[in-house]
């Protein structure tokens, strides 16, 4: 997994609550058997004026001029500023894959849906929860100032604003460790293989019906 240590990047808005994973990456793109290439279809139904199809050359499609990510001022954005309950809906990991493939490294919102939040960490994408009032303020500053950038320091757990103001954020210690070091958590879990085997042996005694293979 790609490590996340410190990142400075242009901020772009997704200014609506309850952005669901269908909106982040519509279902027709879930037929791919790959993990990559979803970036051009991120927010497909909002970003383009036509209906997207898998395998299409998106550079020829009509862009929705009213969608912020299409504004020249947000070109190259890598920090997404969002509203409450971002990423609700399905468990599709294609959502963080699409955000990552587009170039986002971090998402700031007052709250996230659980599965999406978890999926982000598995893909080197950092979701940051900040108080709603703080997010409101960031939205105001971002709209007011073209080229608005934020520095996100995971080690220090800080978001640093252009004026130097520092906002602290919480992050789970294990997830922080994995993200800072770009660790594969399967490898980490397999270090506990003995514990898993011991549990399994005990459980097989107590509840043998759980181990009957479906044939």
């Amino acid at each position: 997994m790609k490590a996340f240590v410190c990142h400075k990047g242009l901020v772009a808005p997704m200014d609506r609550a309850n952005v669901d994973t269908d909106l982040i990456i519509p279902k027709q793109f879930l037929k791919s058997i790959k993990r990559t290439g979803f970036g051009p279809n991120l927010f497909d139904e909002l970003r383009y004026l036509d209906e997207g199809q898998p395998g299409q050359d998106c550079s020829k499609r009509p862009l929705n001029p009213e969608f912020p990510l299409n504004f020249p001022r947000y070109k190259g954005a890598s920090v997404l500023l969002a509203r409450k309950n971002f990423g609700c809906g399905s468990s599709r990991e294609h959502a963080p894959w699409a955000l990552d493939d587009y170039g986002f490294r971090a998402i700031i919102a007052p709250s996230f849906a659980d599965i999406f939040f978890n999926n982000c960490f598995k893909n080197g994408l950092l979701p940051i929860v900040l108080d709603e009032a703080v997010v409101d303020q960031l939205f105001r500053e971002m709209y007011a100032q073209e080229g608005y950038e934020l520095t996100i320091d995971l080690e220090k757990q800080q978001v640093v604003k252009p004026d130097g103001d520092v906002i602290g954020f919480e992050v789970d210690a294990f997830r922080k460790h994995c993200l800072l070091n770009g660790l594969d958590d399967i490898g980490l879990t397999l270090e506990d293989a003995e514990d898993i085997r011991a549990y399994e042996a005990k459980r097989r005694e107590q509840a043998p019906w759980l181990f009957d293979a479906v044939k």
Binding site: K27, K31, S91, E93, D114, N118, I186, I196, A207, V214
Partner: protein
């Protein structure tokens, strides 16, 4: 010390190891697999030279992408016309062969929507931990299991280690006491719950559904409720084990038999929250207060009783919410204050992991019997949740009731719930749907979804607009 909740017990039973950093390794008993969220996980295993830790915990079946059209379906995997979908289903076949995983293939008698197949075969049992790369895995919690959806990285993690890295969630009890009125179903109950607590109301919680209404409900009804726990933001929903659960599980193909059954039952009888268990949050509803629900917006919390009107955003004080309502009304092509009953339908979809079990089809058939869909309704799809449900419905003659009513009887698949196969809405079309999500574009680009119960969907198909299934049945019955 306070007693344990059902979730506490399930967590404790599956705890392999608590780590110093507050995370825990939780053992997974059953891992269900479908074609959409597994290919990248299998690829990950291959690239790392890993094998499934316990392949007999895996059960696969294709559901999202398979055609519901009988002719296309009869030709099997090779006959899937959409090439990208075909490759994905073929990839599942190949992966199951390569890793020797049990699969109920496209036209196997065990095939169906994973969340219908698991309980009906006994592949999911009370007391299990169940995962699947699909958010509606919460469905299986109806059996007194700890079940939730995971992303593809976690699918790979569970395949490779049989465990999930988790932090314990908080406990929420949603208690529905009293009695439901005639014509009011599990779907109406869960939509009313989501309407009350919101789509993020359950975030961070495992929700236990309890109370007299849940106790009196069939397993099918409980599955409908737990299925939509995720629509309230909770990864896991669950219901305590009782006699209804045991009667349902007994005799299922993969349920324990003989002495093992007795031993299992003894273990399962403890799967309920203790009387003195403490919940972090409690939400209460009265069954008598719940009316048939219809969603009017683009989030499952945007629901109203069928007799109500579409809300007026001007009356909403919160700016973000107001903007959400305005955007939803614009997308849905509805006006503030419009009567729900005046919403006209273009299509109707009866199916999905929420409402495609035999009881759901019986409820829809009871309304459709001897009647015909309105001419203005272009299409009514009835898509059974599994081959077993389809066979049972045909044995009961339900398919004939549907076809006589002008409804189309289809093959088991996720179908128009998420429109990955050919079943989809056209831009601007309104659909009465028994599925679980009314997100923008969910059932097709520009499509407009209204979530309802199976009886309400059938009634809307007949009337051509929303109608209170209770009046509809009474009127027509007495006419």
């Amino acid at each position: 010390m306070a007693g344990q909740t059902l979730y506490d017990k399930l967590w404790q039973d599956h705890l392999v190891k608590s780590r110093e950093d507050g995370t825990a390794l939780i053992y997974i008993d059953r891992h269900l697999i479908h074609e959409v969220t597994s290919p990248q996980a299998f690829e990950g295993l291959r690239l790392a030279g890993r094998k499934p830790w316990r392949k007999d915990s895996l059960v696969a079946t294709p559901d999202h992408n398979v055609p519901s059209d009988a002719t296309e379906r009869a030709a099997g995997v090779e006959g899937i016309r959409d090439e990208i979908a075909r490759i994905q289903v073929q990839t599942l076949d190949e992966n199951c062969r390569h890793f020797d995983v049990v699969q109920f293939g496209i036209n196997h008698p065990g095939q169906g929507i994973v969340h219908v197949v698991g309980p009906e075969t006994g592949a999911t049992l009370p007391g299990m931990t169940v995962v699947c790369g699909d958010s509606h895995t919460s469905t299986h919690g109806a059996l007194g299991a700890l079940a939730h959806g995971i992303g593809t990285s976690e699918v790979e993690h569970v395949m490779a280690t049989q465990c999930l890295i988790q932090r314990k969630m908080k406990n929420m009890l949603v208690r529905v006491d009293g009695k439901l009125g005639a014509g009011v179903t599990a779907k109406d109950v869960v939509l009313a719950i989501i309407g009350k607590i919101g789509t993020a109301g359950g975030t961070g919680y495992a929700i236990e559904f309890g109370g007299e209404v849940i106790r009196a409900m069939s397993m099918e009804g409980r599955m409908t409720i737990c299925n939509m726990a995720i629509e309230a933001g909770a990864r896991a929903g669950m219901v305590a084990v009782d006699q209804v659960t045991l009667d349902y599980v007994k005799g299922k193909p993969y349920a324990p038999k003989g002495e093992l059954w007795d031993k299992a039952v003894e273990n399962w009888r403890r799967l309920h929250s203790d009387d003195d268990a403490v919940f972090d949050a409690v939400v209460e509803l009265r069954g008598e207060d719940i009316e048939p629900q219809v969603s009017w917006g683009t989030s499952p919390e945007m629901v109203a009783p069928v007799g109500a009107r579409v809300p007026d955003p001007a009356e909403e004080a919160d700016a973000t919410k107001r903007a959400g309502i305005e955007r939803a009304l614009e997308y849905m092509g509805l006006s503030a204050g419009q009567k729900i009953a005046d919403i006209k339908l273009d299509r109707v979809f009866i199916g999905s992991c929420t409402n495609s079990r035999i009881e759901d089809l019986r409820a829809a058939a009871a309304v459709a019997k001897g009647r015909h869909k309105a001419d203005s309704v272009k299409q009514v799809l009835v898509v059974p949740g599994s081959q077993a449900v389809k066979a049972q419905a045909e044995k009961e003659g339900l398919h004939e009731i549907f076809t006589r009513a002008g409804f189309e009887w289809r093959e088991p698949s996720c179908s128009m719930c998420l429109a990955m196969n050919a079943d989809k809405l056209n831009p601007g079309e309104h659909c009465a749907s028994t599925s679980n999500r009314n997100f923008e574009g969910r059932q097709g680009y520009g499509g407009r979804t209204h979530l309802v119960s199976p009886g309400m969907a059938a009634a809307a198909a007949i009337a051509g607009h929303f109608v209170d299934v209770r009046e509809f049945v009474t009127q027509a019955e007495t006419a």
